[in-house]
């Protein structure tokens, strides 16, 4: 076997997708495969579910067989991944707060966090950016385009 390391990303994503494929197969088996009118709702998903499992296993196998090629790959920079995940978490939190705080406040908080924490600007810059972005959105969407935005317990 060639020396080098296994591409863990491929192995993990392959395993996840194989799991999804198995879930699709199991679910589609509980649906009608074929009836008097022709193929049922379980027909198409069953086949792409099977294809998904086969392809995922091939991906995992290829990762083990191509260890030498994987050795040439740039290692993952976990610091960068962490930065991206923090940005995503901030976004997800903002979405989670929409019901309670409404769009304007949640969005202003998200902008403040991105500017102050992720881009390390001064608190004043962050506050001004957050305030003006939120105000800009209010002027463009609810006021000019009459697009309704989620409102929170404070009524905006």
């Amino acid at each position: 076997m060639a020396s080098g390391r296994v591409n863990r990303g491929d192995v993990i994503s392959g395993a996840v997708l194989a799991g999804l494929g198995i879930f699709i197969i199991v679910e589609s088996r509980s649906m009608e495969y074929s009836g008097i009118d022709g193929p049922g709702p379980g027909f198409f998903p069953l086949w792409y579910g099977i294809a998904m499992v086969v392809l995922s296993l091939l991906l995992i196998a290829a990762s083990f067989l191509r260890r030498a090629e994987n050795a040439k790959r740039k290692p993952l920079n976990w610091r960068e991944v962490g930065n991206a995940l923090v940005a995503w978490l901030a976004f997800a939190l903002c979405v989670g707060l929409l019901k309670t705080l409404g769009f304007m406040l949640s969005f202003a908080l998200l902008t403040f966090f991105i500017v102050a924490v992720l881009y390390r600007k001064s608190l004043a810059t962050a506050a001004i950016t957050a305030g003006s972005c939120a105000a800009g959105f209010y002027l463009v969407f609810p006021l000019a385009l009459r697009v309704s935005l989620p409102t929170g317990i404070l009524g905006f």
């Binding site: 994503s13 699709i24 009608e32 309704s148």
Partner: protein, 503 residues
């Protein structure tokens, strides 16, 4: 309806003040996002799509198409001035464009890019206008088996050129098919993969997936480094934007080359404008009397790729409008837009919606003129857009994404799904899974399943109906060939080179 009278009708539609305004808005936005590195036309169209729902369908199509081809114009500006391609199709323009700028000919390079884009873009629209009606007539012969085979062939071509690993591209496509299948079954009204959640009975909205995967995935990926983009000094000498006679003469064949290569590549699903620009650059170099000078700042090295890049748009519209088959992520989003407006791109589109089809064609002619007029005098102004700090741009994109999704359904569940797909989009980029096959699988999933099930109903369950009909058999054979050819080392080497060029 013949082409001339159709076109006249189209101009009558496109020249109304409202449509002219939307054409201008689309071209302007397209140019802006083409200039901004890290935000492509697919992400922009996905984000703005929900805001077009209140507009008349024709105006909305005209605006979104303007964004699509306007982005290609804008991409050349940063390639020439800063050696930073605004989008992947402008990578090759950097080679000679930036060198021209360094020699004090930035204005001439921008002028050549604009003129080449105008000529080739117009040729692309002429091609669309001439080829679309006969192809649509041919498409009328298609029944469910042919449609299924056509979709399989289209997806196979996209998978071939979507990423270095065809396995990953196929897996992404399967995930797209699965997402399309979530909700209520088309034939039996049985719920599928809804996890018992009533909010999922209507399926997952396309807009949620497209904005999540393209816009959020892209922005979250860009935020990894937490640094402002470094502004390079803009070279001087781009105030005079007209190339001299010698430079224009040197470009005469490049204009034709870019126009033809771009259009032909555009018609093929999957290939895209990046490959078109590299191919026409390679062809120009191959037939040049001085190939050694390419890369040192020759004007034809700018004209050929920029022309191909723009002519490709007209080509890509051919299968989209006449057969309902998109060839890229951006055209897949356009197809979804058509469906959301209650239109069905396909062989009957020209017949059933002549105003929309010819209005779009005419608006593309007008859009090319708008872009030429807009770009030549306003390039210095557009270059200032690069000074917009990313710490302002990214939150704005996040905000537009939330507003876009919420405005479609008014559902907070959809905004939560947006966050899920944003993370999915980022992970796909990180793990080298291409996003175009997922979006295509999602857009075509329903139609593909319907065509397959209808075919099997027609044949009472006999699968041989798919290969016993000649057109369907040929298309399926091509699809199989496309998927098997990379097993040959030489073909795979060519494929990987094309993908590398595609960025």
């Amino acid at each position: 309806m013949d082409v001339i009278s159709g076109l006249m009708q189209g101009f009558a539609v496109a020249l109304t003040p409202g449509n002219l305004m939307w054409c201008f808005v689309g071209c302007f936005l397209g140019t802006v996002i083409g200039i901004l590195p890290g935000l492509g036309p697919a992400a922009t169209i996905a984000m703005l799509l929900p805001l077009t729902f209140k507009m008349p369908a024709t105006s909305a199509v005209i605006m979104l198409a303007g964004i699509y081809y306007g982005a290609k114009y804008g991409g050349s500006t940063t390639s020439i001035l800063l050696n930073v391609p605004g989008e992947s199709a402008s990578v090759v323009t950097c080679l000679d464009g930036y060198q021209m700028a360094r020699k004090g000919r930035a204005g001439a390079a921008l002028g050549i890019a604009a003129i080449a884009s105008f000529i080739a873009g117009t040729v692309g629209v002429v091609g669309l206008m001439l080829i679309a009606p006969p192809l649509a007539k041919f498409g009328l012969q298609f029944s469910s088996p042919e449609y299924f085979a056509l979709m399989v062939m289209g997806l196979a071509m996209v998978v071939l050129l979507a990423g270095a690993s065809m396995i990953k591209a196929l897996l992404a496509m399967m995930v797209g098919l699965w997402i399309a299948g979530i909700g209520t079954d088309l034939f039996t009204a049985e719920s599928r993969f809804t996890f018992g959640n009533s909010e999922m009975l209507d399926g997952i909205d396309f807009v949620v997936v497209a904005i999540g995967i393209f816009a959020l995935g892209e922005v979250i990926g860009n935020m990894e480094r937490r640094e402002e983009g470094q502004l390079l000094p803009v070279p001087k000498g781009f105030r005079n934007l007209f190339p001299n006679w010698e430079e224009l003469k040197a470009c005469r064949f490049a204009f034709i080359n870019g126009s033809i290569v771009g259009f032909l590549i555009g018609v093929l699903p999957g290939a895209g404008s990046t490959i078109a620009s590299f191919l026409s650059y390679g062809l120009e170099k191959a037939v040049s009397k001085h190939p050694e000078k390419f890369g040192t700042g020759v004007p034809e090295g700018v004209a050929a790729p920029e022309g191909a890049n723009n002519s490709e748009t007209g080509g890509a519209m051919v299968p989209l409008l006449t057969l309902g088959i998109p060839g890229s992520g951006t055209t897949a989003i356009l197809l979804a837009a058509f469906i959301l407006w209650g239109l069905k791109p396909g062989p009957l589109m020209i017949q059933d919606n002549p105003q929309l089809f010819w209005g779009l064609v005419a608006s593309m002619y007008i859009g090319n003129v708008v872009l030429l007029v807009l770009n030549l005098p306003m390039v210095p102004l557009f270059a200032q857009i690069l000074k917009l700090p990313v710490h302002v741009l990214y939150p704005v994109i996040f905000g537009i994404s939330i507003v876009g999704v919420y405005s479609v359904s008014g559902s907070l569940f959809d905004t939560a799904m947006l966050a899920v797909f944003g993370l999915t989009g980022y992970l796909m980029r990180k793990l080298d899974y291409p996003s175009a096959p997922l979006i295509l699988g999602l857009v075509l999933g329903d139609s593909m399943e319907r065509a397959l099930r209808q075919s099997l109903m027609m044949s009472q369950g006999n699968l041989s109906i798919l290969w016993s009909r000649p057109i369907s058999a040929i298309m399926l054979a091509i699809a199989v060939l496309i998927l098997l050819l990379p097993l040959m080392r030489s073909v795979d080497a060519w494929r990987l080179k094309a993908i590398e060029e595609n960025g």
